[in-house]
Amino acid sequence: MTASEAELVSRAARSDPVATAALLARLRPGIVRYCRAHLGRVGGAYTTADDVAQEVCLAMLRALPRFRDEGRPFSAFVYRIAANKVADAQRAAMRHLVLAPVETVPDRADAAPGPEQQAVTTDDARRLSLLLGQLSPTHREIVVLRVAVGLPAEEVGGVLGMSAAAVRMAQSRALAQLRTLAGDTLDEVPA
């Protein structure tokens, strides 16, 4: 956590609305990616995941005034909230069976890259999330927090209650496992 983020957090916890807005702007992209990484596309869009991400943001805002800096990074606070909300959403999806499998085509126009490039990217992304599903929950969470969210190993340790060294060890193991799995599936299912 950078000094300025710590500063922002403490100001926001003291109900400074400017700091709250700035903190939200800074954290929201990571929270959205976290929820999308775990919940995937439904019907081709990240709508469900983004709804959950919004809930996480709101829960964070509500909990902020109660946040006390106890030496743990703020990300630990945020991504524990996020983990709970994602688990809730997954349980709800299991109950209602609304979480469709990921292999659906995006139904929204996207201006950014060309359609072909987009299709390749989406295909790779889908393949990776299938591989992630075969990792252990802890390894999957580490990959999500490190790559999807972009947290440093120290903060991932804070979220998961592990030392940074343990995170580094585990992330290497997760990567190695992904390489093994990718070797298998890529051989079986050519692109």
Binding site: R14, S15, D16, P17, V18, A19, T20, A21, L24, A25, R28, P29, V32, R33, R36, A37, Y46, T47, D50, D51, Q54, E55, C57, L58, L61, R62, P65, R108, D110, V120, T121, T122, D124, A125, R127, L128, S129, L131, R146, V147, A148, V149, G150, L151, P152, A153, A166, R168, M169, Q171, S172, R173, L175, A176, Q177, L178, R179, T180, A182, L186
Partner: protein
């Protein structure tokens, strides 16, 4: 490598691999492209890029995208949604909006206030950058503070009112000071934090001690437009026993009505537009409301 036990005494080769993997994941986590020739890294990079897709505009799929990205509409929306959250105590009812996706209730609440919040933040744009620090009554962010952080809002409002009372007292405007003190006491009564409340009460007493013990002259104009009654009639009533301005003008009242246009939250911003005048200590959105006692439609 996958079956290796996590031991503290790793081999140097492992440590080098850990370091390399750490660097790779750091880079991917920051959104950097994968190094060439690493299949899994490129899958991870594609995945990460896909997670970012339409991130900025995900929930704003109409002309609102054209708004200044500096005033992130998503942030505005979330702050407004937090403000409108029933569990935050504001209890806004849902009503017709441009519902885009039939999702949850909270989402509809959020959408309902989207326009309002965007308007607030758009109007507050300069204040967001320049007016750092706590929002106080009269600042552009005050409406947000008031709804998101009620407790602090009452406390800040009380502090502000006490400051005005002290100013009035030192300038000899005794009636104004008394009125402001009365308002401050009402606000202090709503502050639940005991330390804060007792500090505020001490300040209130200190300001009251500045005032002469006698009656006051009502010659000075009332500073708070929402409470003209006590200013005119409250002269002979000293100290804390003075009547409060009645049940209507409390800060808890101004909830946006479900029939909202885009302007419901805007009026309080105007409190910052009157330099030189004493700031109204009760949001003026409440003040002008006439009591519609005779106007209730007959129920069928």
């Amino acid at each position: 490598m996958t079956d290796k036990q996590p031991t503290a005494d790793e081999q140097p080769a492992d440590l080098a691999a850990f370091a390399a993997d750490t660097l790779l994941l750091d880079a991917l986590g920051s959104g950097a492209p994968a190094p060439p020739g690493d299949r899994v890294a490129s899958l991870l990079a594609a995945w990460r890029a896909d997670l970012d897709a339409e991130l900025l505009t995900t929930d704003v799929d109409d002309s609102a995208v054209e708004r200044d990205p500096a005033a992130d509409p998503e942030v505005a929306r979330l702050l407004a949604a937090a403000a409108a959250d029933p569990s935050a105590g504001t209890g806004v009812t849902t009503a017709g909006t441009h519902a885009r996706r039939g999702a949850g209730r909270s989402r509809r609440v959020a959408q309902r206030v989207l326009g309002v919040a965007a308007a607030v933040l758009a109007a507050a744009g300069g204040g967001l950058v320049v007016g750092a620090g706590h929002a106080t009554p009269g600042s552009p962010l005050w409406p947000i503070t008031r709804v998101v952080y009620r407790e602090q809002a009452d406390s800040a409002q009380a502090e502000h009112t006490l400051a005005l009372a002290r100013k009035a007292a030192t300038e000899g405007r005794v009636a104004d000071a008394r009125l402001l003190l009365t308002q401050a006491d009402t606000l202090i009564a709503r502050v639940s934090d005991p330390d804060r409340a007792s500090r505020l009460r001490a300040t209130s007493k200190a300001v009251r001690d500045l005032l002469p013990a006698g009656t006051s002259s009502p010659s000075a104009p009332a500073p708070a437009p929402s409470a003209p009654g006590p200013a005119a009639t409250g002269g002979p009533v000293p100290g804390t026993g003075a009547p409060t301005p009645g049940p209507l003008p409390t800060t808890a009242v101004p909830q946006p009505k479900p029939t909202a246009g885009g302007n419901q939250i805007l009026p309080p911003i105007g409190t910052g537009n009157s330099p030189g005048l004493p700031l109204p200590t009760i949001p003026p959105s409440v003040g002008p409301l006439p009591l519609p006692t005779g106007l209730l439609p007959k129920l069928p």
